[in-house]
């Protein structure tokens, strides 16, 4: 026996779309600023026709059925694009759940037997709920991708390598040093050492909020790598609290040149390169 509701859906596709659109347009969370009504209509129409075409007796109880792969694909595409456009979760959820209202509405009009109506409603409800969850999962995934990309960008731009003098590089580190960040810092620094042929690198950690044994480990690694490349590394910007923590944790920094300020690190670097900063003599005007 062919399922009654499916027959109804196939017959009343047009009507369902109209009801759905009406529901969506009536909802107060509609975002006309982000998406035009025509675009919304296009998305809705595509989704309905694919859903109704793929719906049959055997798969109505199983939202994970492979027949629904194309439906899930479309839903994922819609929710990812919505996540990027800045729709809120509620707005995205409303899109799918208002479809359920539209479907149930049509069924109510077409199916006369209350028992049958109840059973069918339950099935459709379950199916659409599951699609709703899928939409949500992909929506969150889309958001996470955005966050991940931004994290990468921050990591990239937050570790600039500055040439302060011929042969002297400075690298101000701002924010917590974790393994991934250390990797970026180290790669940037070593690359720049090779490109500029610098022999001294100053790591300024005044922007690092706290130094624990792991961060210290990362710093020591960076210094060792710099030394292997044949350059010397000076750590500057060690605040009193950090000095306290480092000693209390029993971390050995004695092999590393440490300075309080960037200025004193620079002075040390000048010394190592046999450079001297001299005050300019005032020109005496011969009269």
């Amino acid at each position: 026996m062919k399922n009654e509701s499916i027959k109804v859906f196939q017959k009343k596709k047009k009507q369902i779309l109209e009801t759905w659109m009406k529901l969506q347009l009536a909802d107060e969370s509609l975002r006309e600023d982000l998406m035009s009504n025509e675009e919304l209509r296009g998305q809705s129409e595509e989704l309905i026709s694919i859903l109704v075409d793929n719906l049959n007796d055997s798969n109505i109880d199983d939202p994970r059925h492979s027949d629904f792969d194309s439906v899930v694909d479309i839903l994922s595409g819609i929710s990812i694009s919505r996540a990027r456009q800045g729709f809120s979760p509620r707005e995205t959820g409303t899109f799918v759940f208002s479809l359920k209202d539209a479907l149930l509405n049509t069924m109510q009009q077409e199916l006369k037997d209350p028992q049958e109506l109840f059973l069918q409603s339950l099935k459709i409800s379950k199916l659409i709920d599951s699609f709703g969850v899928t939409t949500f999962e992909t929506f969150i995934k889309g958001r996470e991708e955005v966050i991940l990309r931004q994290t990468d960008e921050i990591a990239e731009i937050s570790t600039p390598v500055i040439r302060v003098w011929d042969g002297i590089l400075a690298l101000p580190i701002i924010g917590t040093l974790d393994s991934a960040r250390t990797q970026v810092v180290m790669e940037n620094l070593l690359q720049e050492i090779v490109e500029s042929g610098s022999s001294i690198a100053i790591l300024d950690i005044s922007g690092v909020p706290a130094v624990d044994s792991l961060v210290a480990q990362h710093l020591i690694k960076t210094v060792s790598a710099t030394r292997l490349m044949g350059a010397e590394c000076i750590i500057s910007g060690i605040r009193p609290e950090i000095a306290q923590t480092v000693v209390h944790l029993g971390i050995d920094l004695t092999n590393i040149i440490t300075k309080f300020t960037l200025a004193s690190a620079l002075r040390t670097a000048f010394n190592m390169l046999h450079l001297q900063v001299v005050k300019k003599q005032k020109q005496t005007i011969a009269d």
Binding site: M186, V194, S224, A225, T226, L228, G230
Partner: protein, 131 residues
Amino acid sequence: MEKIPILRMGKFLLVTIQVDLYDRLAEALEADLVQMVKKTGAQGVLIDISAVSIIDSFMGRIIGNIATMSKILDAETVVVGMQPAVAITLVELGLPLKGVHSSLNVERGMELLRTKINLSEGQSDDDGYAE
């Protein structure tokens, strides 16, 4: 079998590794180099690894070994031109090559060797590097 050439330049030996090292080649180099140090009485060894892009713990150890052996034979060793990726790998492997001096390029490596040898001979040099 391939062989890595060891060139003599005055008091120094110059080794430029132009191919990716594999285990047997590295072991042969270790043996050859020690023999050459003994034969020529070189005071400094300069190893250029700028063309080496891949390194593992074994290779790291060999380089460390060469340095230590040369030191025992009274020759300073300088490794020059290490690639950033190689340096990071060595640090991650926990092989910071203690006792090996490194330099950015051959020119600076030579300079460093000269300074080291002058220092160890207790001569004062006039280019301002000894302090």
